[in-house]
């Protein structure tokens, strides 16, 4: 035995390295790791670091510890933006999910010109956000809103609706725009999930006399949960970090009633030049985003294989 080990030790270093599966594995992962490090870890780390400095655009700053965060916590506009962001995310995500699921189920049935309709459904998602935001900007216009005009012509109201001028109207209006834009993503992805559910399960259930609701509740929903978890994680992340819709339609107004953390971060960090504070606002979004991810990870992915274990 000793002789064998000796000879192995005497193999050239490169050969031994090539023969070691673990080392080779690490070696092959290096490019991916480098990309993650350069394009993900570094910017994230830099963001966190900037959030703890008073750096301005074009001027280096000094480390100020948690000062930005203490300031922000006392700032009424920042607090309002947290509230707005939560309201925006929760309401929009729930409705997007409900309507998206509904749409997916409808599209999953045999309907005429199915492929065409599925393509049409994707349109809001395909149109660049800025364009759809501009369209909504017109729909919600304070003087020429098509909605107000129609309602006035029909005699339901006698004055234009102040969609973006009254705080709660404005919140509702931007949420509606976000829902319109977000539904296709949810619907099409859930549709893909629906199509993976074996038809035989439904047939067996029908033979057992299950109602439509029971089939949905006991077959569709459980088998769809993994997809739902992924879709909703992404949907929540997109909604939470939304920027373009708000920036084009309201700039965070009226009186900051629709300022999200992302828009406030931009307003202060880039437009206002307070890069450190802008970064701090962006960093303050991270805990909420992590919480959302963990919730979907532990709350919705309830099967062991989804968490890396084996199904029993």
């Amino acid at each position: 035995m000793a002789a064998v080990i000796d000879s192995a030790d005497r193999l050239p270093l490169l050969t031994r390295f090539m023969n070691n599966r673990n080392l080779m594995g690490l070696f092959f992962m290096l490019p991916a790791a480098a990309i993650l490090l350069v394009f993900l870890t570094y910017p994230l780390g830099l963001g966190v670091w900037l959030g703890m400095t008073d750096v301005k655009v074009g001027r280096p700053g000094v480390f100020v510890g948690m000062e930005n965060f203490t300031w922000l916590w006392e700032d009424s506009v920042f607090r309002l933006s947290i509230f707005n962001t939560f309201l925006y995310t929760v309401v929009a995500s729930v409705i997007k999910f409900a309507l998206g699921l509904w749409l997916a189920i409808i599209l999953n049935n045999n309907i005429p010109i199915k492929a065409f309709i599925r393509a049409i459904v994707l349109l809001p998602f395909i149109v660049p956000t800025v364009l759809s935001a501009l369209a909504f900007w017109w729909i919600y216009d304070s003087q020429d809103s098509v909605i107000s005009w129609t309602l006035i012509e029909l005699g339901f109201i006698d004055q234009t609706i102040d969609f973006l001028g009254e705080p709660n109207n404005a919140r509702g209006a931007v949420i509606a725009a976000n829902i319109w834009r977000g539904i296709p993503f949810v619907a099409i992805t859930l549709l893909a999930g629906l199509q993976t559910i074996p038809q035989s399960l439904y047939e067996a259930a029908i033979i057992d006399g299950a109602t439509e609701w029971q089939r949905f509740r006991r077959i569709t929903l459980p088998l769809l949960t993994p997809i739902i978890a992924v879709v909703m994680t992404f949907s929540v992340l997109f909604t939470f970090t939304d920027f373009q819709l708000i920036w084009v339609m309201t700039r965070g107004g009226p009186i900051n009633a629709t300022h999200l953390m992302a828009t406030l971060s931009y307003q202060r960090g880039i437009v206002g030049g307070a890069l450190g504070e802008g970064a701090a606002i962006a960093v303050a979004m991270i805990p909420f985003l992590l919480a959302a991810i963990l919730f979907s990870y532990f709350g919705l992915q309830n099967r062991k294989w989804q968490r890396g274990g084996r199904d029993d």
């Binding site: 001027r59 234009t160 009226p254 307003q267 437009v271």
Partner: protein, 438 residues
């Protein structure tokens, strides 16, 4: 060096107009300037100029023609890029911080004061031009001079005045536009009663919103900071101003709370809004589109004077800045000096059709202000303007407070009645403390 009086400047204008149309004579002028100029461009010089996206095509055409002529006459290569302000300003700041990038940036507000050390000293150019063209208006000097040095050239300002419908104001019982805040409130009240209300942007409108909000704050003697940058926003004067706003706000057309910079243009052009504040763009659009019922029935007016007893207006400045890192400082200086010499600046003003106003006194007599009497008020943009940092210094605190819409939000709260004037002033003061750290 010839010295120009205002009269003489006026006399050269005919030639200048011809020069703008005939590139060969422009070229001759450029060659003559290159001979005379105290700044000799370096051999093989090339300049990168970054500017804001134009407001009006004719201005950009005029400017590009001038740059082209300079390039041909001196052999200096010039590359021009343009960006929207939201991209331009961070780029300018980054160029300053890393010491590379465009040689000249035509930027906005008092941005050079955020990175003064990166700016080339332009005192000689400013003195040369000031001496030749009747001097600079004081506000242009305030914007440009830091510690005795000119860190920027106050190239032009964009005027923001009251736009009104003549017939509707007359119908409300005013033969001419009110000159003080009390009469102005009376006018707005009458207009609203007559079913032809006016309105001012209350959303986060960086141009129109800031212009009108700062006017109303200053008109009653309120201001953000005193001469030594001590925060004095929460004052009886500010509250008085906001009480005035609360009354004024009741006369506004519905929907102003959501108005951004473009909304009032649209409402006015549709005939839905009788009075608002804007640059000359509403009028220019009405003329361009042949909307005679608007263009012939509208005019511009100075902002009314309030208890402060003097004009308290805010107009946006667009300075030319040269960076220390340029390899061709003399070429840059020669170019800027050339652009502001009468022949060229006249062509630039002609192309700007009133959007942009001059900062050198000699150009008061430019025909752009007289050929159409409705442009007349824009002539006085610069002498009537204050800096947004009034009456403190132009630095980070002022720039950040301005970008965060503190004054705009405060005025909007008072106008919409979501807060009392006292609360609005106190809350805005608290927000401003973040920037003017105590």
């Amino acid at each position: 060096m010839r010295r120009y009086t205002r009269r003489q400047t006026l006399k050269t204008l005919g030639g200048a107009a011809a020069a703008a149309m005939v590139p060969t004579s422009l070229l001759t002028a450029a060659r003559a300037f290159a001979e005379e100029s105290p700044w000799k461009p370096e051999d093989g010089a090339s300049i990168r100029l970054l500017r804001w996206k134009r407001f009006v095509a004719s201005e950009e055409e005029a400017t590009l023609a001038l740059l082209d002529a300079f390039s041909k006459a001196t052999g200096v290569k010039i590359r021009v890029d343009s960006e929207g302000f939201e991209d331009l300003r961070p780029k300018a700041a980054v160029a300053a911080s890393i010491g590379s990038g465009p040689d000249i940036i035509w930027t906005i507000h008092a941005d050079p004061h955020l990175y003064p050390d990166a700016m080339l000293d332009l005192t000689d150019v400013a003195d040369h031009l000031g001496g030749k063209y009747g001097g600079w208006y004081p506000i242009a000097e305030t914007y440009s001079i830091r510690k005795g040095q000119w860190i920027a050239l106050p190239f032009c300002f964009s005027g923001n005045f009251l736009n009104y419908r003549v017939s509707q104001v007359e119908k409300a019982g005013f033969s001419k536009f009110p000159e003080n805040t009390d009469d102005f409130l009376a006018l707005m009240t009458e207009l609203n009663k007559a079913g032809t209300p006016g309105g001012f942007a209350l959303g986060n409108a960086s141009g129109d919103g800031n212009c009108w909000a700062h006017w109303v704050l200053w008109s009653h003697g309120g201001k953000m900071v005193d001469d030594n940058d001590n925060l004095v926003l929460n004052s009886p004067e500010t509250v008085a101003g906001l009480e005035y706003v609360a009354k004024l706000g009741k006369t506004f057309i519905p929907g102003v709370a959501s108005w951004l910079d473009g909304h009032n243009n649209k409402a006015f052009l549709q005939g839905a809004c009788s009075v608002t504040n804007n640059g000359i763009s509403i009028y220019a659009a009405a003329v361009r589109e042949g909307m005679k019922e608007i263009s012939e029935d509208m005019d511009h007016a100075y902002w009314p004077t309030g208890p402060a007893g003097e004009p308290t207006e805010f107009h946006v400045q667009f300075p030319m800045t040269v960076y220390n890192h340029t390899k061709y400082p003399n070429a840059c200086k020669a170019l800027l000096a050339w652009l502001m010499e009468a022949e060229q600046y006249n062509a630039f003003m002609q192309g700007s059709v009133g959007y942009l106003s001059h900062s050198l006194k000699a150009f008061d007599d430019h025909p752009v202000w007289t050929e159409d009497p409705k442009r007349a008020v824009f002539k006085d943009t610069v002498p009537r303007s204050r800096t947004f940092a009034h009456s403190g210094s132009l630095g980070y605190a002022a720039a950040s407070a301005f970008a965060d819409f503190i004054v705009v939000n405060m005025v909007a709260e008072a106008a919409l009645g979501t807060k009392t004037p006292e609360e609005a002033a106190a809350d805005a003061h608290k927000r401003a403390e973040r920037y003017y750290k105590i």
